[in-house]
């Protein structure tokens, strides 16, 4: 096609003008995401950017990135951020929130980060009822270090360090973090969401919105687990991972609220 024809084809006449129905969230930078195609991290990032915009709180929000695939979250979220040592995001967030109590503080952590090396910091932050939002991306594997077993790896699931499948008799059962921390008094809102279908994405978005909104109440920690995928290390196509999430992940990690504030708790 010559250039002139191409231009004609691409020119939109006034009658045909499109309605803008989707654009890059304001608080996402223009940097191209480095995540593998089909990875849930990208969707989770987008939701955070959208919610921070919707609440109009970017001038008051500080995020904490983990060590894991999301280590570069601060390259994509146009938000003030700190990058924590592996597992220490909840301690870093505690430090921030304690000196800036009027700001919104959230962590974003993988399962190795939050539930293995950093489980002490996680549990103690929740137990103290730190007024932070913890976003926990559970993809049942160590993504960044190329597919080793995570504390959330499913029984029988093959990883590079459980090559014959996770043997729960010697490797323990996968940790259910929501159920583990929900009984703590410091936990205000605990929910498990997913981002593999449009409906789930909408629900997860709502959860993040609430998780941030509740922070102004000063009544404890909000904890949102997001069941995610890792096509690269699960050795599946993105489409196959959706199936795996439905058939294997969700039966073990049921979606939905584990602890919700009572109506009277929502008063200032």
């Amino acid at each position: 096609m010559n250039e002139e024809k191409l231009e004609q084809q691409n020119t939109v006449t006034e009658e045909e003008e499109f309605e803008l129905i989707y654009e890059r969230p304001v608080h996402l930078t223009e940097t191209r995401l480095h995540y593998c195609p089909g990875c849930g991290h990208s969707t989770a990032h987008k939701l955070i950017a959208e919610v921070v915009h919707e609440l109009g709180i970017v001038t008051k929000t500080i995020g904490v990135a983990p060590v894991g695939c999301a280590v570069f979250a601060y390259d994509y979220l146009n938000i003030d951020m700190q990058e924590a040592a592996h597992g220490r995001a909840c301690a870093v967030a505690t430090g921030i929130k304690r000196v800036l109590p009027d700001k919104y503080v959230f962590t974003y952590q993988g399962d190795g980060d939050l539930a293995a090396i950093g489980i002490a910091e996680t549990i103690h932050a929740v137990n103290r009822g730190e007024n932070i939002l913890i976003i926990f991306i559970n993809n049942a594997i160590y993504g960044m270090t190329s597919g080793q077993m995570a504390p959330t790896t499913l029984p029988g699931m093959k990883t590079t360090t459980s090559p014959y499948g996770r043997d729960t008799s010697s490797m323990g059962m996968p940790l259910k973090m929501c159920e583990l921390i929900a009984p703590l008094k410091g936990a205000f809102y605990v929910t498990r969401q997913a981002v593999h279908t449009a409906t789930n994405v909408r629900k997860a978005r709502k959860a993040i919105l609430n998780g941030l909104k509740y922070q102004t109440l000063g009544k404890g920690t909000c904890f949102i687990e997001i069941i995610s995928n890792c096509p690269s290390n699960w050795k599946m196509t993105p489409v196959q991972t959706i199936d795996f999430i439905e058939k294997d992940m969700i039966p073990y990690y049921p979606l939905g609220d584990v602890k919700v504030p009572k109506p009277e708790d929502l008063k200032q």
């Binding site: 970017v58 951020m81 700190q82 220490r88 301690a91 870093v92 430090g95 000196v99």
Partner: protein, 354 residues
């Protein structure tokens, strides 16, 4: 300076009180002997005087809380003793790389391992050579009195802010526990603006990021080089030391902290006997007074470090002396504090063998 008050206090308490007066915004710590008085004093005093005090779940947590709070622009401090400081090393490396100003205090006890709760200077290497991973330095201040436990808090915060670098006060179980007179002065404490801190992104500025990750080799090397430049500047400007009879000395003792007090006594005893002994007491262990030792070398016949360890600072003295005169070390360990007479005997033995 106008005196605010004069008190009889433990070293640890004087340090804690100084932190409040230095307008420390937040303190994070975990109990360990012989420094728990700091956490206890601040839990009692700082909370009611408007600061944040939090007993963390571990030293790993405390140092990362320090990272977060310092990154958010606050003036912050943590204290611990040897095993706890070991646990903080990863965090310290991150803090040094992300260039966050903060104050860390090590009330040194005997090791290795769980060791003893008695005083020691066994953490010199860890403090001055970068106990964590990677190429970095802490500014290290070594108080030798309760007064300096207080004074170095003000100095420490000032240097931390000036260079955006973590500062370590390396004390020991004796200085931390002993009671002495301490004077608090009326001071104008100024905290600088921290435009780099993460406080929420405003439309008029780019987002602020606190990180120690520089994955491109070229970028990482640039960061290494800029840190190196800063350390050179610190080495040029911040060396602090004290001398006792060093000007005409033929033999030199080099000692810091508690050992420097004993060594002072040794110098007095030696001078009484007509022995030309002097003392150089490094106040900053990093930057080390290398130049001053070099300057003194031509007049010296030998030097000896007195340390409550197996011989650590002696390596830095040897480097400074560069083989020109004999250098030896005398130390006691296990929490045993050498007596001046014992040290003098060793000095005389050393001299007779030169």
């Amino acid at each position: 300076m106008e005196i605010l008050e004069t008190k009889l206090m433990k070293g640890n308490e004087a340090l804690a009180e100084a932190a409040i007066q230095a307008k420390c915004d937040a303190y994070f710590g975990y109990p360990i002997t012989p420094q728990s008085e700091v956490l206890e004093y601040l839990s009692r005093e700082m909370t009611v005087r408007g600061g944040v005090v939090l007993q963390a779940e571990s030293e790993v947590a405390s140092i990362n809380m320090i990272y977060g709070a310092a990154g958010a622009g606050a003036r912050v401090m943590t204290t611990s003793s040897s095993p706890g400081i070991s646990l903080m090393q990863e965090g310290l490396s991150y803090i040094a790389s992300a260039q966050l100003p903060c104050l860390i205090v090590n009330v040194n006890r005997g090791g290795p391992g769980l060791g003893t709760i008695q005083p020691s200077q066994g953490d010199y290497f860890q403090s001055t050579k970068g106990g964590g991973h990677g190429d970095y330095r802490l500014i290290v201040l070594a108080p030798n009195s309760v007064q300096e436990m207080a004074d170095f808090v003000f100095l420490g915060f000032e240097l931390a802010d000036k260079y955006r670098n973590p500062v370590l006060i390396l004390s020991d179980g004796a200085i931390g526990q002993m009671m002495e007179k301490v004077v608090f002065y009326k001071r104008d404490v100024v905290k600088p603006e921290k435009s780099w801190a993460t406080t929420g992104k405003h439309p008029h500025r780019e987002r602020n990021i606190i990180t120690s990750l520089f994955i491109q080799p070229e970028k990482m090397e640039q960061v290494n080089l800029s840190l190196l430049k800063k350390y050179k500047e610190i080495e040029a400007n911040e060396v602090r030391y004290e001398e006792v009879n060093a000007k005409d000395a033929e033999f030199l003792l080099v000692a810091y902290g508690l050992s420097s007090r004993i060594s002072h006594k040794v110098v007095d005893l030696a001078r009484h006997k007509g022995l030309k002994l002097g003392l150089l007491r490094p106040i900053t262990l990093y930057p080390f007074p290398t130049k001053r030792i070099e300057e003194l070398v031509p007049q010296l016949k030998g030097a000896m470090t007195v340390e409550m360890n197996a011989g650590q600072m002696v390596e830095d003295v040897r480097l400074a002396v560069n083989g020109k005169i004999p250098v030896t070390h005398y130390g006691r360990m296990g929490g045993i504090i050498p007596s001046p007479e014992e040290v003098l005997e060793k000095v005389e033995e050393f001299i007779s063998n030169i």
